[in-house]
Subunit: 202 residues, 2 copies
């Protein structure tokens, strides 16, 4: 079998996934494949050739996004006290989570949580769980070095993350625009950090 000729696979799959993300996030899981094909500049058949079904397209989309989510959470390292690290973490987290785009995707995952539980689970582990875990590790180190007094680092991490993201995320998911600007984010990040450190000082 001379398995050659024709076009080789190219970044066309990427275009399909991009389009799928765009359409599905904005219109929900019920959005028609034709729209995705149109936006991707591709025939519907091509999508089926590459992904087989809508469910698998969604699966591929989520798996790709999972990698993007996990990446930018590596925010720790300063050693002149926990303030800077915590504030930085808070800002990154807020900017990552509190965008209409993130909300649209989160809505998508939640919608899929019923029909595709494993996907939603994967998102949870790549997103919230992973970020909390890294924060917990950081807090544990700070505690070990005597800069903070933390008996339950995992719970402390939950608390900090909850303070920072908290109900803003719920609002966004419900489609309510709280209109946070960068100054607001700075303020919240700093205030959360200040109160958190006060709560966990000896």
């Amino acid at each position: 079998m001379p398995r050659v000729a024709g076009q080789i696979d190219l970044a066309k799959s990427e275009a399909i996934l991009d389009a799928a993300g765009e359409i599905l996030a904005s219109r929900g899981l019920g959005a028609p494949m034709e729209e995705i094909a149109r936006l991707a500049g591709v025939s519907k058949q091509t999508i089926y050739n590459r992904f087989g079904s809508k469910a698998e397209l969604v699966r591929a989309l989520v798996e790709r996004r999972v990698d993007e989510i996990t990446a930018p959470l590596d925010v720790q390292g300063t050693t002149d006290g926990p303030e800077a690290a915590l504030t930085g973490f808070a800002k990154v987290m807020m900017m990552a989570v509190l965008t209409p785009r993130s909300a649209a995707f989160m809505r998508l995952y939640m919608q899929g949580a019923v029909e595709m539980p494993d996907l939603a689970q994967a998102v949870f582990e790549a997103g919230p769980k992973s970020s909390r875990a890294r924060l917990a590790v950081f807090l544990e180190r700070e505690a070990a070095d005597g800069r903070l007094e933390i008996d339950d680092p995992a719970l402390a991490a939950e608390f900090f993350a909850g303070m920072v993201v908290g109900s803003h995320q719920t609002a966004l998911l419900l489609g309510v625009d709280l209109g946070l600007n960068e100054a607001d984010i700075d303020y919240i990040a700093q205030e959360a950090t200040r109160r958190f450190i006060k709560a966990y000082s000896s």
Copy 2:
């Protein structure tokens, strides 16, 4: 017009709304009307006679739920220090929010946030916003009485609510069962209260 005879309206509408809640929460907005009719023990036509369309059925359902949500948040009042009140508030909040049923409904609202923004908005105001506001009022009073030192009560309320409910809610919405039992809830409520008071003491 002798507008009498036949059956008068009865609590059959309630049965329909109950069934709608059950079905829609578990199967999503895409669930068929026939299921709802079957569970309500009613013909599909009756639903249409009473509610007109699926969208209006959902609207009625949400409006009824909004009342239920707002009610149990009146948890304040002890004057021997904020601990008991805060712990109580935390527990009520967790029990209200962290059930599979609440999560299912919340998922429903979020799913509808795109097509019916006003509904989602109403839910936000009856739920998260209202509870935070009441908590903020309580905190302001505590601050005025000198028991706590709070410069921004609204933000403090966000922080406390975020600590308590935080990522547990996200997990639930993603269909991940964290399996919190009553002891866990007690522990989290007490720990959150302790840390919060420490963070806002003079």
